[in-house]
């Protein structure tokens, strides 16, 4: 069993016990524990079930590479699945649940899959697509979907908050082990700005566990001194609990800081996503130990050798009373020695190497441990926990020579440098055959804008695994001058690559040798994939799911591609690796979203009158990022009733509309008139000062992109009104043409949209209201239709435009935004006895449709030209050119068979559904029904008491009076083609 040792534990604080739970069982750990350490200390080795076969899974590792020991952590709005117990710091009250097990972890029904393993071979998922064809949909898919997945998705919105932050540095050091600290100090002493990010809560990496001495001091002491030296430098920033997730082009680095994972409920951002620009990245990311592929290597109790000593030394946890060590290298002997130091039993060390002569093995032998040379594991005995190891000759086929009882197996298949950050932006790897590992190739490093390498690996990450060379390498990577720190550690004899144990294992054993523990990929699966013709490592990955689990193959990839290479009969570098992609380890969706949630999910644009609308019960309509009042429903009113009331009141008395969101762009300069003549289809250069003109703007392909009223302010300046959604887009369109095409024209623009609040004063009483406000002569004579006046209205500097989008007598009053609310209140007060009521965007739409005015986005969709909409009157025939003119002369645009704008009135007076089509006889080349028209705007007109609509109809204007069938939801609605102006065709009302 696993238990807490009575003494030791360099990271735990025994004076600070913490209560937590696993599957409802109350457990106890100490501050400084990881969840995995605390679970092991409570003899909870079985943590989860595997993905495919539901095999029992225990804790394998002690760090970020852990594939098995993932749990659901937290409760309610703080529940999160797939939390890696080996990197999660224990906190008081941590509630954890096992995953992928039903009805319970100990008695899991899904484990039947294990018995059916031979029916679930590599690629079984894809094979179910193939044969028999009906089976996928009715049999496999429902079953596969049910049993797939690991964690359970949270059911409640996340209670925590998250944020992002930016940082800049000359040198970013990823990893705070002895290599990272060495490189950081070297770079900092050169005067560079240095940022050191360490993914765990502790500095120094594994050197203190391994008993390394540096510059004559124990590693712990050296780390403390070096940290103090770094902290004293003003050009160094150190951050713990910050994992570098991705290195991208141009030195852009993403890192996640776990600010408050260990302090749940604190009023702190839980995670912080760092977005960093680094001149250079030093990846001092260490190395990850590989498992050995022997039968039963996935049974709980089989662990990575270095992890076993981490648990003993860091957290005073004994993973087992009797631990058999199985290895192909000297490093694992440190584990055996650490276990002895803790008073535990090591019955034997099985070393695959035929002759073992190193210093560490000599020490193990001297302390009485049996070292069996040339030996390996035939199979592990046990179910939910290791009970014994069957020993065999590594050179043989697995005949058991001896059975050794034990409850823990510490395995080491060598180390793989963590080259992820070097590889992500394109660095290439070299194969080190002697050490059986891929190392970063400095000659093919990722390069920055200057063509020079911008990512360097340092220490173990560059393949310098031994302490002595590790620090020299890191010192050089940091640009160190002078001597590097000197590490002293016993010499290590060469390792011997072992990809399968024993080397001649028969199929029955190979089918129990796990490569990818989380995704249940075995040696036999990769070999099957090779037999089925998979030669590319990328294809094999996807076919077998090797390395696709949430650990992204940190422990499994090298073993897997070694097996694949062997099956293909080619050397490992010929097979290559799969692509390393960010993130290095999972980051949270919360961190990616950052502060953007709730009220600040997206900017919400508000006019100066927004608060008044809110207080007065406006029902909102999103228009771009603005919210505009759709209508102002009164008590007991439906929205439709409110709209009808607002329309009727405006037509009969007086309506007020907040039109502040309309785009307002000032265009000024000696060439401004010429410029506007090119931008609009009509002529703006001849517009007299003081007058307004409606204008249409097209893209260079001729399509209508915006419309609005243009005002000639002075001899050399015009104010161009755009649609609400068009303000920024049209301003950019103007600057694009000015900066890229007509750069020599003397024109300046300024987007003044937000400078002015604008109120539309509409209806028969409009003039009376402005007269009551006083200050500007708005009489019929002084201010005729399509003119404007400037002055002081109600004591506020104002421009009054006499324009109409409703067909009524109408003015739009623009004032500085800081006075917008004052103007609105003044209009309401003075308008009270004139029947003034605010109206919203829907009433605006109904009134413009009653008048047959088009709306950009309703009547236009990017394929409509002004000629389609009967707007020929707004297109100058005299001008030699305007943007879109030539496009509009193409044959397709002048084809009489285009769909054109008409009015539509239903025979029964009902309202046509929006967007419905009128079918035509016959089908097109794809067998689809032909159509001859569609509805673009449709409303109930309270003025006329029936439905009105506009639509684009094939040769529509030539077919007045014809009745079309529109089909909606299987129902046919008959509508007659008519003139689109339904109300006041002669325009008398706006001219009073």
């Amino acid at each position: 069993m696993s238990t807490r040792l009575a003494t030791g534990g360099r990271l735990i604080d025994r004076t600070a016990p913490l209560a937590f739970s696993f599957d409802g069982r109350a457990l106890r750990g100490y501050a400084g524990d990881t969840l995995a350490a605390a679970l092991l200390a409570n003899d909870q080795m079985l943590i989860a079930r595997s993905f495919k076969y539901h095999r029992p899974r225990g804790i394998l590792a002690a760090g970020v590479e852990e594939p098995n020991a993932l749990v659901g952590l937290g409760q309610g709005p703080r529940f999160e699945p797939d939390q890696r117990t080996t990197t999660t710091e224990l906190f008081a009250g941590a509630a954890t649940v096992s995953q992928n097990a039903w009805p319970s972890l100990n008695l899991d029904v899904g484990a039947l899959n294990n018995l059916a393993a031979r029916f679930l071979p590599a690629g079984f998922y894809y094979k179910t697509f193939m044969f028999p064809r009906f089976a996928w949909k009715h049999l496999f898919e429902p079953v596969v979907r049910l049993s797939a997945g690991i964690g359970r998705a949270p059911a409640e919105p996340d209670a925590d908050r998250y944020e992002q932050a930016y940082d800049f540095t000359d040198v970013l050091v990823a990893g705070g082990g002895i290599a990272g600290l060495t490189a950081a100090l070297a770079a900092a002493q050169n005067g560079q700005r240095v940022l050191v990010l360490e993914q765990t809560a502790h500095w120094g990496g594994r050197a203190p566990v391994d008993g390394i001495a540096i510059d004559g001091k124990p590693a712990d002491a050296w780390v403390a001194e070096t940290l103090a030296a770094l902290k004293a430098l003003p050009n160094v920033t150190l951050r713990r609990r910050t994992m570098v997730a991705g290195v991208h082009d141009h030195g852009y680095v993403i890192a996640q800081e776990a600010v408050a994972d260990h302090l749940p409920g604190a009023d702190l951002p839980r995670h912080r996503l760092w977005r960093i620009r680094a001149g250079r990245v030093i990846a001092a990311t260490g190395a990850i130990e590989r498992p050995l592929a022997f039968a039963g290597n996935d049974i709980p109790g089989v662990m990575l050798a270095a992890a076993v000593r981490d648990y003993v030394v860091n957290w005073a946890v004994s993973p087992g009373d009797r631990t058999v060590v199985v290895t192909n290298n000297d490093d694992a002997y440190r584990t055996a020695l650490a276990l002895l130091d803790a008073g535990l039993v090591v019955p034997a060390i099985l070393d695959a190497r035929a002759s073992v002569t190193g210093a560490l093995p000599a020490e193990a032998r001297a302390r009485g441990i049996r070292v069996l040379e040339g030996r390996g594991v035939a199979k592990i005995k046990g179910g939910k926990r290791v009970t014994a190891v069957q020993v065999c000759a590594q050179a043989g086929e697995g005949a058991a020579l001896e059975t050794i009882a034990c409850d823990c197996v510490a395995m080491s298949g060598g180390f793989s440098p963590v080259v992820h950050l070097f590889s992500q932006p394109g660095g290439k790897l070299a194969w080190d055959a002697a050490n059986g590992m891929f190392t970063p190739d400095p000659a093919r490093a990722p390069t920055g804008a200057d063509g020079r390498p911008f990512v360097t690996c340092a220490g173990a990450a560059s393949g310098a695994l031994l302490p002595a060379v590790c620090l020299a390498d890191a010192h050089a990577a940091g640009g160190g001058t002078g001597p590097a720190p000197q590490a002293t550690a016993p010499d290590e004899a060469p390792m011997q690559p072992v990809w399968m144990m024993p080397q001649g294992a028969p199929p029955a054993l190979r089918a129990k040798m796990w490569l990818d523990f989380q995704n249940d990929v075995k040696v036999s699966d990769v070999q099957l994939a090779a037999r089925e013709g998979y030669v590319s490592v990328e294809h094999t990955k996807r076919y077998t799911t090797l390395g696709m689990a949430s650990d992204q193959g940190k422990i499994s990839n090298i073993n897997g591609l070694a097996i694949l290479s062997d099956a293909l009969g080619q050397p490992i570098p010929a097979t290559g690796t799969t692509t390393f992609r960010p993130p290095y380890a999972p980051i949270s969706f919360g961190a990616i979203a950052g502060e953007a949630r709730g009220e600040i999910f997206q900017p919400l644009r508000r006019t100066p009158m927004h608060g008044w609308h809110e207080e007065n019960g406006a029902h909102w309509e999103p228009v771009g990022l603005w919210r505009r009042p759709y209508c102002y429903p009164r008590a007991g009113e439906t929205h439709a009733q409110a709209v009808n009331r607002e329309v009727a009141n405006t037509r009969q008395h007086l309506g007020l509309l907040d039109a502040s969101t309309l785009g307002k762009i000032l265009v000024k300069g000696p060439d401004a008139g010429r410029f506007l003549d090119m931008l609009y289809t009509g002529i703006m250069s001849t517009l007299p000062v003081g007058k307004c003109r409606y204008g249409l703007m097209c893209s260079e392909n001729g399509f209508l992109i915006d419309d609005g009223v243009v005002v000639r302010l002075t001899e050399d300046s015009w104010l161009c009104h755009t649609t609400t959604g068009g303000a920024d887009r049209i301003h950019a369109h103007m600057e694009d043409w000015l900066q890229c095409e007509w750069w020599d024209w003397q024109v300046y623009t300024a987007n003044l949209t937000e400078q002015f609040a604008q109120v539309a004063v509409v209806g028969p009483n409009a003039r009376k209201l402005l007269q009551a406000l006083g200050g500007i002569d708005v009489s019929r004579e002084a201010l005729p239709f399509m003119t404007f006046a400037e002055g002081t209205l109600a004591g506020i500097p104002a421009r009054v435009f006499r324009i109409s989008f409703s067909g009524e007598l109408s003015y739009e009053v623009a004032v500085p935004a800081s006075h917008g609310l004052a103007l609105w209140h003044a209009c309401l007060a003075a308008g009270a006895e004139l029947g003034a009521m605010p109206y919203g965007t829907e009433a605006l739409h109904v009134m413009r449709a009653e008048k047959g005015f088009i709306m950009i986005g309703d009547e236009t969709d990017g394929t409509v030209i002004p000629q389609d909409l009967g707007l020929g009157w707004a297109i100058s025939k005299k001008k030699p050119d305007y943007i879109g003119k030539r496009a509009q002369e193409r044959t397709h645009m002048t084809n009489p068979d285009r769909w054109k704008l008409v009015g539509l009135e239903t025979l029964d007076g009902s309202v046509l559904p929006d967007g419905v089509l009128a079918p035509a006889p016959g089908v097109n080349a794809n067998g689809q029904r032909l159509t001859q028209g569609r509805v673009t705007s449709t409303y109930f007109s309270p003025t006329l008491g029936r439905g009105i609509a506009m639509g684009l109809v094939l040769r529509g204007p030539d077919r007045m009076g014809e009745v079309l069938d529109f089909v909606a939801g299987g129902k046919t609605i008959k509508a007659r083609i008519c003139d689109q102006v339904f109300y006041d065709k002669d325009g008398e009302k706006q001219n009073v």
Binding site: E163, F168, R193, R277, E595, I600, L625, Q755
Partner: protein, 186 residues
Amino acid sequence: MSEPISALGGASAEGFARVTEAGPLGMITLRGDLAAPAVASAVKAATGCALPARRAITTQGENSAAWMSPDELLLLVPYPEAAATSATLEAALKGRHALVANVSDARALFRVTGPKADQVLAKLCPVDFATLPAAEIRRTRAAQVAAALWRSNPDEISLICFRSVARYMFDLLAVSARPGSELAPG
């Protein structure tokens, strides 16, 4: 005439730095040939400020002149003086190709104050505050909206954004300044 109302009426929030909406402030957009001596002298005459070099902001008394682009300046003056200063500039630049627009009401102004003001902004703006000099204005973005900012005093950063997104900006700054969320390393 009614009193001008800034977007948030001077709202403020207290965190590890103080966030205040500080409008109304007079702002004038000037577009023209910044290399022309007449433009420099017009700016000097109207505001007392020297023509700012690229990315710079110059100050004279209550007035400032900020470089916005190769042909655009933003002049900052007390709100009540914006209209008159605009008229002065218009007159001084008469006959030249230039654009003067009073944009005082189109913007919102914020001040983030305290020794840790930088840390609030570093959460929102891709700006290296460690190297941002005192007399520089930086056009950037704060989360999802455009912003311009500068060091208006020791321990104070001023930030301008569009008026319509003032509430969004205030909420961004306030949440980023919440106590305990300092970027202090550990």
